[in-house]
Symmetry: C2
Subunit: 531 residues, 2 copies
């Protein structure tokens, strides 16, 4: 993966002419593009680890798997949020003191015990695609920090074909997992935008939700078991698909982003590879009508595998269809539906009936096919926009159906007013719904802004206002990006002080030295902050 952007450098593409023409009209003057720094030229602090540290860590994971090279350290310096990418364009960068690459569960467990003894912080690292600062090399109160790269924990450990249950090593990437499962006739069906790079352990640790969530559920609901290493003991959880044997402790680790322990194996529900697929796109008069249609579909359980609604702005610039960016395809809003697996004609027909009843018009399969084709490519576009000096970022939330429209308005208004107030900048906000539930739905916002000054500083202020606005309007601080360090200061408003006390109590029990991902999820007290 490109160290300071997204994905395969060979796939990066220049902005289409239409977009370059459109942007000044939309955003006014944008920032003068500047040349990103080359990886070898990044200035970093010398590793804080002593030879004794390296020897102790090497004795556990093997000396070859303690990496203090410049490249490894820089590549593990953070995730893939826009602030992460902006920071990677700077001359000086914060990076971990070393990268550890354990090869087994036991090596992970031993590495955590040794790091706790040495007083070195550990940042678990899967695919490196966090967009909430979960991978910042924050040492907290400790004297050093290592990135624990799980890439060597890869593979399909077990498959129970009768039960449709598979155990995957935590460092297995999305494509690796699907390839291994497909060889046995099965699919996991979890396709977040980060699919090509993110890992099974990361999906679990961050409570990921994939584009097929309408059909196969959030990652939370796919997980049937986990194996976890902590500095003070291991866990193997999930004996049965239905259990009342006390609280479901799997859920303590889903969303824990490495602050309690390191997930080393994940047991997941899988299904036979779907043999058939129907794609269908729809035009719908406006976002509100589309949201009403999605609500009825979700509450009637008509069974689309994918259903997503792009608002008027997103439909117009067709951001949902990266290949066609800039072509105005349709007036109004648009819906993409996909049906996979059994009984798809019936599911399509019941869903279509609802969409037609609210005023939708089928536009055939080509737009849905274009979305499917380009659905993992959004982040490449962001790189091109950043290269062109345009600020571009995404954020997401969710709420109940009755509050959805108010939440969307509040977020949109706060973003636009924020850029005006903080930077006198024009911005454009697009929105889609891509995850639906019987009681509510997610909202995903794509933001472009013509910020000419310090984009990072401006965005931090705007984003803070948006977080406040989300909570005030009844939304969750994150639907599927998780908390990391970026949302941590807002978590207490969502789960209450007593909720934060529960998380802290679990952390103290499992990680009494506090070496695991300090400052993620549970904000460090300012005094404890070592940056």
């Amino acid at each position: 993966m490109r160290w300071n952007g997204w994905g395969d450098p060979a796939k990066a593409k220049d902005l289409p002419l239409a977009v370059r023409t459109l942007l000044p009209l939309l955003l006014g003057r944008t920032r003068r593009p500047h040349e990103p720094v080359a990886l070898v030229d990044v200035v970093v602090s010398p590793s804080a680890l002593t030879p004794e540290d390296l020897e102790a860590l090497g004795s556990v994971v093997g000396p070859d798997h303690v990496d203090v090279t410049h490249e490894a350290r820089v590549r593990h310096g953070g995730g893939r949020s826009t602030p992460d990418l902006l920071r990677r364009r700077a001359a000086e960068q914060r990076v971990p003191d070393a990268v550890l690459r354990p090869g087994t569960h036991d090596e992970v467990a031993a590495a955590l015990r040794v790091a706790a003894e040495l007083g070195i912080a550990v940042i678990p690292f899967g695919g490196g695609t966090s967009v909430v600062g979960a991978l910042d090399p924050d040492r907290g109160p400790h004297r050093g920090v290592v990135s624990l790269d799980l890439g060597r924990l890869s593979g399909l450990i077990a498959l129970d074909p009768l039960s449709g249950d598979a155990v995957l090593a935590a460092g297995t990437t999305g494509p690796e997992a699907e390839e291994l499962l497909a060889a046995q006739g099965f699919e996991l069906g979890h396709y977040p935008q980060s699919f090509r790079y993110a890992t099974i352990g990361g999906f679990a640790a961050a409570r990921s939700s994939g584009q097929n969530s309408a059909g196969y559920g959030r990652f939370d609901t796919m997980v049937t078991g986990i194996r976890v290493a902590t500095p003070t003991g291991d866990l193997e959880l999930g004996r049965s698909p239905g259990s009342a044997a006390g609280p479901d402790l799997i859920r303590v680790f889903l969303g824990s982003e490495g602050i309690f322990g390191v997930i080393t194996e994940v047991r997941v529900r899988v299904h036979p590879v779907p043999q058939r697929r129907i794609l269908e796109s729809w035009s719908i008069p406006d976002f509100a009508t589309g949201a009403e249609a999605l609500r009825r579909v979700a509450q009637s359980a008509t069974g689309p595998t994918v259903i997503r609604l792009s608002d008027e702005a997103e439909t117009a610039v067709s951001l949902a269809q990266v290949g066609k960016i800039g072509k105005v395809l349709a007036k109004g809003a648009s819906i993409v539906t996909v049906y996979e697996g059994d009984d798809i004609e019936h599911r399509r027909s019941r869903t279509a009936e609802i969409l037609r009843a609210v005023g939708g018009t089928s536009s055939g399969e080509s737009d849905a096919a274009a979305w499917l084709e380009g659905r993992f490519d959004g982040p490449y576009l962001r790189d091109s926009l950043l290269d062109a000096g345009v600020f571009c970022e995404t954020l997401e939330t969710a709420t109940v159906w009755s509050a959805l429209s108010g939440l969307r308005d509040a977020v949109t208004r706060t973003i636009m007013e924020g850029f005006t107030a903080e930077a006198g900048a024009r911005s454009s906000v697009m929105c889609h719904i891509s995850h639906v539930y019987p009681t509510g739905a997610s909202l995903y916002f794509t933001i472009l802004a013509g910020v000419r000054g310090d984009q990072l500083a401006v965005w931090e202020k705007v984003k803070a206002s948006v977080n406040d606005a989300i909570l005030a309007a009844g939304g969750t601080i994150s639907h599927h990006h998780a908390v990391g360090r970026d949302h941590a200061p807002w978590l207490a408003q969502e789960i209450g002080e007593t909720g934060v006390r529960i998380l802290s109590a679990i952390k103290r029990e499992l990680d009494p030295r506090g070496i695991l991902n300090p400052g993620a999820v549970i904000a460090l007290e300012p005094v404890g902050r070592a940056d």
Copy 2:
């Protein structure tokens, strides 16, 4: 509810002649029936609470709602397991020192703070239908114990019809909840066997699963939010149907059985009252074939609202159909299916196709209708059997499909061998599957035994062997009855010592004095036990 048995005394019925004839053939000689003690004659210890205690508690919940009458104390002495009922036939009984009946969330919270200050244990009490000892008046290391009856916290607090989301007070019973929702056109659809008496808060605290779980999910999956009072702070959890804002802390309280706090309100997903229903029963060659059919139905998501498989023994004595007890209805095993709501012909037709494909034969709707009619009446039958001197109890577990048959065999063998070894007694074990998931299913056992000696002592030994056998065969210690005190000693084998440490850490944080339901879920160290 009958204080020493189940339900409405007017509904109790004598065993049918056919059963009385059958029992000696099945079980040999049974115990001579003995006369249960009358409530007024039960001998209990004097209340350990001082006038100062009563005044302090009364100042919080109102003096009229601190009840130290003999009847109230005896009625709150435990749950409704067979051991509970056998203990209620004894002359001396363990009961709480008082019953508190708070009327609001704030009164619950204040009562917990006062009890913590006074050093008095608190046993939260909903419908009183626990069958795992969760309501034992165990004072732990404290000088007294009160039952906290949530009956006054009743009602529909809010309904969001657009989102299909309703807030119910924790003490609302199943029928009360459905009546209140039905008046607005909605249904919760949670029908465990305890439905008529159990409460919304109890369903949440015990991770209940209802007979319509194939259609509407376990209670876990219905809960969208909770409000909890703890001795050290309140929680309001569940802002959004999909969230990645850290671990889902709702799940910390589902299954916590009152050891962390008292659930005072539950937000649940509701659906429009179904307008149509199809019932269909099936004969199936044997249990194994039936289980294979249920697996295919669950993995193909064909959409029955209810699907349950009775094994050959249960089918034969027709325990599933209380009204017809004793009539041998069919050879082989049998399946009941129910379809409610939208699109039911299609769902029925897809399900039927699978059942026919494995060799099932539709037997029309009458057996399914009889099951539906009698589905809450099983416990009345147990009372009659106990009155007749026959030991009768149920237990349940769950596992993945591939381990289901082995688990059933292990449990059945352990029960029968156990009764032989411990009491030279013959026993009869029936089994059904009533909850299915894509990756596995529950097993529910009904046990009759001709134990002539101390039924309680014999059962404690047999049950201990069964718990060991369940864990050895890959099952969960409970699918929907929960942990209580009866399963607590086995919990560490299921979730590991590290799992128990997590629960203990949460408890220490929220309930540092340890007043809440001491000994439930997390077993007390023997030294701390105050009985």
